[in-house]
């Protein structure tokens, strides 16, 4: 049984097509990153997986069933949007409420400690800082021990230390057999966490694969200093052939450097290819 199965899904809002013929399946636990520019259809896709929206056509299955049934929702988790928790309620109260919604949840105490919120348990949500609120909403996504967690920009607004600890938590969750589908604009985050990356643009899936596969599809950057000591930089799909040409043609060079493209460059060039079509 697939964890997530999206089959030829279209989603239209009036004249706007947010998702156009998307097919995607997640069959193994792990972290999957959904990348793409604003307006690529990522949020609409996640809304459909959460059962908040219905596809115009095509089918969406989560854990083998329609995501709007409560049996599926017992096994999925997501975080409220930033600023989306009632301000007058205390951190502990919000966690207790959400924990009570799930048939098997971790304890509130555990959630507080996992997300470094223990000392904020008695604070009202309205007085928390952005980073504290973010940790609270992440705790809400995980408190019900879900099999599948949806995270939208999970570490936005977190400082470096807090980001690392959230990454640690996500990694540990995935290695414990959980699946996390996250969207992010930070390539570093996708690279650090995801075992699989799906790049979306204009409502379509442009490319999917491991981070290494996504990068391999792209160009490499070759640079060297010529006889005059000036730096020459070239991007090429076949760096081997390029260097062979340099040698065969007796082009003088030193400090030769071949660099694999960064994930960010690879994704950008994918998006540009898409735009060119």
């Amino acid at each position: 049984m697939s964890i997530v199965e999206i089959n030829d899904v279209y989603k239209r809002f009036g004249a706007v097509t947010a998702v156009e013929g998307l097919s995607l399946s997640i069959d193994e636990p792990g972290v999957v990153a959904l990348l793409g520019p604003n307006g690529a259809g990522k949020t609409t896709t996640i809304d459909m997986l959460l059962g908040l929206r219905r596809p115009t056509s095509g089918s969406v299955r989560v854990l083998g069933r329609d995501p709007s049934v409560s049996h599926v929702r017992e096994r999925i988790g997501c975080a409220p949007q930033q600023g989306g928790v009632p301000e007058s309620l205390r951190v502990r109260e919000i966690l207790e409420f959400v924990a009570a919604q799930y048939p098997r949840s971790i304890t509130v105490k555990q959630a507080l400690s996992d997300f470094s919120l223990t000392s904020y348990a008695g604070r009202q949500a309205g007085v928390l800082s952005g980073g504290e609120l973010r940790r609270l909403t992440l705790a809400l996504a995980f408190i019900g021990k879900p099999d599948l967690v949806f995270l939208d920009e999970p570490t936005n607004g977190l400082d470096v230390e807090a980001r690392r600890s959230v990454w640690e938590y996500i990694r540990a969750y995935a290695s414990g057999g959980g699946t996390i589908l996250l969207t992010t604009h930070h390539m570093e985050e996708a690279e650090a966490l995801a075992s699989r990356i799906c790049v979306m643009n204009k409502g379509r899936l442009v490319r999917e694969g491991t981070p290494a596969e996504i990068r391999r599809g792209g160009l490499r950057r070759v640079s060297y200093l010529d006889a005059a000591g000036a730096k020459v930089v070239t991007e090429t799909g076949d760096s081997d052939a390029f260097v062979r040409d340099l040698v065969l043609n007796d082009v003088p060079f030193r400090d030769l450097c071949v660099v694999e493209q960064s994930l960010e460059d690879a994704v950008l060039s994918l998006l540009e290819e898409g735009a060119a079509v």
């Binding site: 219905r54 929702r73 989306g84 009632p86 007058s88 109260e93 919000i94 409420f97 919604q101 048939p103």
Partner: protein
């Protein structure tokens, strides 16, 4: 068991939210008793024969206020919040959260009506037997249903900002025309003419009869209003779903 636990946690959360807003809760809860004390208590003390009826009018006033504010303004505001969107991703079905909302509103209304009863009992010597109170409470609960639906109709058809004046206008106009403040016989001609056709008047009729009998015609009329408001609220709910969650 799970259902009870989920409903319980939902009720607790709403009560906590209310408890953190005393500036909203206390005036809203005490308003009908205050209104009664200021405008009609003196009259009720002077006319013990109708003091009971006047108290019952203000009980209706209290209940209608809670239903229009909790379900009208409350739903209009909540349905646009990101928190509401998040709640929809939780396992509990929508009806369960709605049920907890009804429980919270009922508690709220009970408190608000209790203030009116306290004023009437202490200051105007209104006395009913336990059996009479029980039947009054049953009639009050039944009569509240069309107003819950009326509140939902406002909540689903108006924006958060528009809901406040709209709920207030309906609340005050219908209370006046329904004869909750002045007995129907003392209303101006126009209000007197439309009074029997308002849901507030039918609610009042039901309560005025409760201590000594039962008004089937009032209950029938209220059922009709309930059906009408249910249809409007349901259409609004579907429209909201279609724009927000389709």
């Amino acid at each position: 068991m799970t259902t009870l636990r989920v409903a319980g946690s939902s009720i607790r959360l709403q009560l906590l939210e209310l408890a953190r807003r005393p500036g909203f809760v206390v005036p809203t809860m005490g308003f009908p008793a205050l209104f009664f004390s200021l405008f009609d208590l003196q009259y009720a003390r002077a006319h013990p024969d109708i003091a009971g009826d006047m108290m019952l009018s203000y009980i209706a006033f209290a209940i209608i206020g809670v239903t229009l504010f909790q379900f009208g303004i409350g739903v209009a505001v909540d349905r646009t919040l990101p928190w509401e969107r998040y709640l929809r991703t939780l396992p509990a079905p929508v009806w369960l959260r709605f049920t907890s909302r009804i429980v919270v509103a009922a508690l709220f209304a009970l408190c608000s009506a209790a203030f009116v009863v306290a004023v009437a009992t202490i200051a105007a010597s209104v006395r009913f037997s336990f059996g009479q109170w029980l039947f009054i409470a049953a009639c009050a609960a039944a009569g509240a249903i069309p107003f819950v639906l009326f509140g939902l109709a406002i909540g689903y058809w108006t924006s958060p900002k528009a809901a406040v004046p709209i709920a207030n206008i309906f609340y005050l106009l219908l209370s006046f025309a329904g004869g909750l403040w002045l007995p129907p016989s003392m209303l101006p001609d126009f209000a007197k003419a439309i009074s029997p056709f308002t849901p507030t008047r039918q609610f009042a009729n039901l309560l005025w009869n409760a201590p000594h009998g039962f008004s089937a015609s009032a209950l029938f009329a209220l059922a009709g209003f309930a059906a009408l408001f249910a249809a409007i609220a349901a259409a609004g709910y579907r429209r909201d779903r279609a724009t927000r969650f389709a």
